[in-house]
Amino acid sequence: MNAITKTDKATDAGVSRRFFLVGSAAGTLVLGYAATSKLSEALAAGPGAFAPSAWVAINKDGKVEVTVGKADMGQHIASTMAQIVAEELESSWKDMTIAFASNDPKYNDPVLGAQITGGSWSTGMNFDAMSRAGAAGRITLIKAAAEMMGVPEAECQARESRVRHTKSNKAVTYAQIVASGKAAKVWTADELKAIKLKAPAQYRLIGQSVPQLDIPSKTNGTARYGIDTFLPGMLYGKLALPPVRYGAKVTGLDDAEAKKVPGFVQAVVLDDKTGTTSGWVVAVAKTYEGARKAADALKITYDKGPHAAVTDAAIVAEAKRLQAEGTAGFLFVKNGDSAGAIGTAAKVMEAEYLTSLNIHAPMEPMNATAREENGTWHIYTGNQFATRTTGIAAAVLGVEQAKIVMHQHYLGGGFGRRLESDMVIPALLAAKAVGKPVKVIYSREDDMRMDFTRPLTYQKVKVGLDGNGKPVALEHDVIGAWPTARWGIPEFLTPAVDKKGPHDSFTVNGADAWYTIPNHTVRNYKNEVAQNATPSGQLRSVAPAWTFWALESVMDEIAAATGQDPVEMRLALLDGSGANAGGDKPQTSGGAKRLANALRTAVGRSGYGAIKLGPNEGMGVAAVSSQERSSPTWTACVAHVAVDPGSGAVTVKRLTIAMDVGTAINPDGVKAQIEGSALWGASIALHEKATMKNGAIEQTNFDGYTPMRMADAPEIDISIISNGEAPVGCGEPAVTVVAPAIANAIFKAVGARVRSLPITAEAVKAAMKA
């Protein structure tokens, strides 16, 4: 929803008023969007600085380099972008290479108007622009080739990085065309828009599992992550952190012992004007081991601030108070009259659902290296939100944003953690204090204790059923911290339905689901206790991982309470009527019926209702439209679990997942994303729990915080539905569908209903007795 609000504005100011230029500079053919129609002006600076955006460059040996303003954190997005370009450019896959953009606005996402990677948005939002870039390149190359061969342009065909004229059996390679310097054209926005892109039946590369371009470098140690940065004269920084997550102040610093550590340089108390960090100190030394020892040797006293007593229980208590009071919510959905319909319903059901704090813990701990040169600050890191990080860096240093250059690297995991910018602050302020480049590497303990956690959420759901057990009213209250509101970027907030003001819809997406329920109210509450004490972040799939936890659990509870089959009941509600028909936007085309199809697919593949299960085993279903209502990826899951009736321990035997991705650009890449996100969902469902005590995150390493390991990974059966509809994201939705499917399977297995994530053996055992 936010994305679309922003889309219209950004598109208008962006691609639609820009030109697409194809021309030669220094022996390289560059293709890119520009604000000027003057090719010579744009090319004057050469390919390295092609203004404003050299997205594609073909060099004289025919290699095609696609520069991507996106963060590559395992989703192979750069490779996917190259595949989209190559499809229309008709370049050979073996000629394709990838590069990452700096934070220069010229590489901004053409739709979002910023550099941000998240929300499973990249593929869907860039498909058209990348396709047109490739097509414009191909047409320009063909024209030049026809001239070179002295044949009519219309009789030429491009394929595998060559233009051929079949009648005369002549051909020139892209390398030869580039060398000729003849390929040049200024495309107006209208001309670009008029290009007829390929129909799916004509695709040669899209739909093929071509090998991902980044993978070889990740098997031989050559892929470069932010942590792998080395600069001449570089020093190291290690954090010394306060005993609370947020709100502490340094009141005293004694570095007498640290001074005895060889190579110690200085302890820097961070004066962070953005308030991103609080009470942080950086110990700077010539070596990393020296910086660690020095940080340990610092004696720091703190004012622990106002949140030093906060616990999980306090956050839940505040959430319940807010919900019961009922006045602070922002309306996200208001269809019909849910209160009235509940008042006249044949049956009313209520339930509460909880999700714990969760830690991102990407394998590469947070880090950044900073260096100043002639007034310009260079940051070396891997980050999902270069635009915001640029702003924060500038504010921290008190310089203009134009003085910040961020050098993008591979991300050793993102999952939303690297949408944040905290890691650049200690590097910048330490580098400024000591006048030398500084690399700051968080220890794993630093990384976990200062994570921008997935918020602890409390949800209350109330449903009214008619005499046939059909839900006719649904009230859904969602209470938690609001990560996006913390960013302070108004465009990322959404106006409440009742005009009460802007709210953070990224915490409630998914609750506007595609079931046909005539009376539906969703309220979104900000829990200020959580907001202040546990600065929260976007964690892979964000709200749909808790809203569907509640919604898909309650659907099952309704089915169980009214003797309906949970699959048949869902299919009946996914009738695609009214607003759930999907409308004419490519991403929502087909509407709820596509989710019904995905559900049927998963159900059929799993053997649900047909195969014989062992004792204390069960199959549970869930169906989701993650991520946002405007960008649904129709996803269904059947979980097959076994429960140990003695201990309540749950074993997931199999996850069967069906996902309608519209168009799978690289089917094996889609499969890899579904495999990983499904296991992430299972990990959050069963293995991962963070807690707050005395204002601090209690888990500090992989002994206390325990993501799923190989031994716990269930078998996964994946069906990718690629039906020619518009491509949508696939890196997150499976996270959201797995937890409710597992909980519903546990209920089928042993009759235990669990309503809190993660699901523990104790909770299952207790629910069995209840």
Partner: protein, 153 residues
Amino acid sequence: MINLTINGKEQKVDVAGDTPLLWVIREHLQMTGTKFGCGAGLCGSCTVHINGEAVRSCQTAVSEAVGKKVTTIEGLDSKGQHPLQRAFVAEQVPQCGYCQSGQIMQAAALLAKNNDPSKAEIVEHMNGNLCRCMTYARIQRAILRAAADMRGV
């Protein structure tokens, strides 16, 4: 001054003997294929071989490596074409890729002793290596593929 043999090459480093081998390899020698993940022997990202055994370099003092053969991902195969490296490409295993050097080094120690491991043996040997992208199924497939390759089947 400490003398080390890493990937067959003699290296001299001026560090304290209790410095973790990980930091010597990564930050002093700038061989960055070996990764820092937890600093506590809990994740396996920093796995290297010492005399052919997979060890966690974050838990190994540099002094313990003196006089022994240290092998990192960069030295597993001179051309980066160890059967496991080929198999990890063939199975398209890495996502973010950060843990993969450690996964490959851990798996290489297994296959050096047992080129026909069962799935259970693979899980037991690999369970200490975390992958946050959860590429576990592909890691298993790649190890089985590499093992078959090494057996010549």
